[in-house]
Symmetry: C3
Subunit: 258 residues, 3 copies
């Protein structure tokens, strides 16, 4: 999973351990607001929403909390001006403590399982760059609207010298099919907004974040007349395969990280 | 399969039990005619070809009869002016007798297995609305030509508060891919003809029923120079997955209905 | 695999056994040249690169040799003016000796496994017709550039009265999806260059062989900045399914040939 390759790479980087939870800024890393029954989940770990253990734990808890409220839907977005999420926080891979790394892997798997298998309608308002794990979070939603401009989105793991996990790959195959996924993953391609639109990696472009959120809301409102229980069970049925795969492999994946 | 949900819903509806076989009109519900070696199977259960037990049994038997003749191909169409088939006859779900419901489920599975796994070339001349089970029958064919106009086609189960069975889902994935199927199923979308054409849910539009049948014939004539045994085995190979799935799950599905 | 059907068909054809290895022309059937770190593998068994046992053995060995050099990538092309490869040499199927036929089947499986699972970037410069096994070789590569003109490409097995093996089918599904594969395989369709381009069976058209090779090189150069180990493992991950299928079934397939 979090590839030894990356661990070894990070070991050679002159960067510091992430701040421990005790010295981290007090503000919550994830904000959840209600917008007429739709939960808006905003990632706000400056500067780039890189996914460290604490952010993953905060997302995981926020997903649980939102689900309890049986919302009309959920929009995932970022509080930062130019980045949706930069993906894995590489400092987590730098001289990692075994226990924390294990926790990290488990929490990342949990976040994906919860988001990809979130029964309620989900849409990503992608208001900035979304490489690697940032792209994964967006793809795990049911719908993607991305702000036009110079932002890019993609699973660029190979360009970082690492191999995307099976659930990254499965999520992309679910979204754009096998052939496009093979080309995207092997080349580590970061897609411009128009390229992402053409290939179906995103569903709509937007002029700015507000427009992106509006379009996400419009998508979620499609379900106003649909019985949630039927809709949600249908979603889980069609997402059953990738969810079964990770359950089967998640322990092995963690073991291989360590 | 025929979801308890639907059974419960129907239980609350002020509608009557379907006519029993003995009081049903004498005319056959399915007509099969030969058109130069191509079997034309016409569903003619007015007013909307809703699939009750007797219609399913008639289709099942007709498929057996047609197969025995090793036809050049088969065209499935409707005798009704504005509806291809309205899908499941909801009255079958209203205060159902256990034995009849069980029979119903089994016959519906059989019809799909026979039609999706029909070795000879199949094409649907969709001359009217094709919601839910009507869309399923059309998708189980190898080719779809739909009469232009205000007709729509789609698996709108969620809009009816029910969950499409796995074989409905598998058939749609086989036709338009996973991503489009997820969007179509969760939103219960009924596609206009041009939308269906764009997404590949149908292959051609036609000006009227005669034109639709002509285009179906033209499709089937593509196989004039192809050895039937090779063609037919190839079709069954590529359809093996969904057919294996239903065989594995059909008993459980029936048990869950009851 | 090499279907009894074809064996039986060939048994009725008034054609001769292929030349035995001892009487075959001395020139190598496969040429491998280095072009700045990219291996260019050229099939040169006149007149049409039909895949007999010796050509398959030569390709198999060449793939091993190229892999040992850890090239930047590999381009597969043909030395012949109008044919990429005509696929299976039907003379192999004519009154076959059991042992040779078994060897033939095994070597064909090996070539596909090695080429589809070749870790390094692969591209086909398709400078002529590519029916059946010729199309298979092209599809097993990661990228396809085809010379414009009157050439065609496709799996036309059904038109020859035979059933494409599962790995032929899996390779096409990997490339153009299930629905397009079903239509292509059942009809035995040979695609013109523009049709192949539209459906994604090829990725680019070229004005001539040199242009095709240049475009293949350009594709391979995309990986200049990508860590080979990550890229190659990613490719093998996404191709895992079809490779697992053939390993599971290859013995049965051979047994059924004999």
């Amino acid at each position: 999973m979090l590839p030894l390759r990356l661990v070894r790479l990070a070991t050679r980087l002159p960067i510091c351990r992430p701040m421990s939870a005790s010295t981290a800024p007090a503000g919550p890393m994830v904000d959840v607001a209600d917008d007429g029954g739709i939960a808006v989940m905003t990632l706000q770990r400056a500067p780039v929403n890189s996914l460290n253990l604490e952010l993953l734990q905060a997302i995981s808890k926020a997903l649980d909390d939102v689900a309890k409220n049986k919302p009309k839907g959920m929009i995932l977005t970022s509080a930062l001006p130019t980045v949706f999420s930069a993906g894995v926080d590489i400092t987590e891979m730098y001289k990692p403590e075994v226990q924390r790394l294990q926790q990290y892997g488990n929490n990342f798997q949990d976040v994906w399982i919860k988001l990809f298998g979130f029964p309620f309608p989900t849409a990503a308002a992608i208001n900035g760059h979304a490489p690697a794990g940032g792209c994964l979070l967006a793809m795990a939603c049911e719908y993607r609207v991305m702000v036009s401009g110079k932002y890019t989105i993609g699973l660029n793991e190979t360009a970082l010298g690492i191999v995307a996990n099976d659930w990254f790959m499965d999520t992309m195959c679910h979204t754009i099919g096998i052939r496009n996924t093979e080309l995207a993953l092997t080349t580590g391609k970061m897609f411009a907004v128009d390229e992402a639109l053409e290939i179906g990696l995103i569903d709509e472009a937007a002029s700015d974040k507000a427009d992106a959120k509006d379009k996400c809301k419009k998508f979620i409102k499609k379900f106003d007349e649909i019985a949630p229980s039927a809709r949600n069970a249908t979603k889980l049925n069609i997402r059953r395969g990738p969810l079964a795969n990770i359950e089967k492999n998640r322990k092995t994946e963690i073991a291989e990280m360590l």
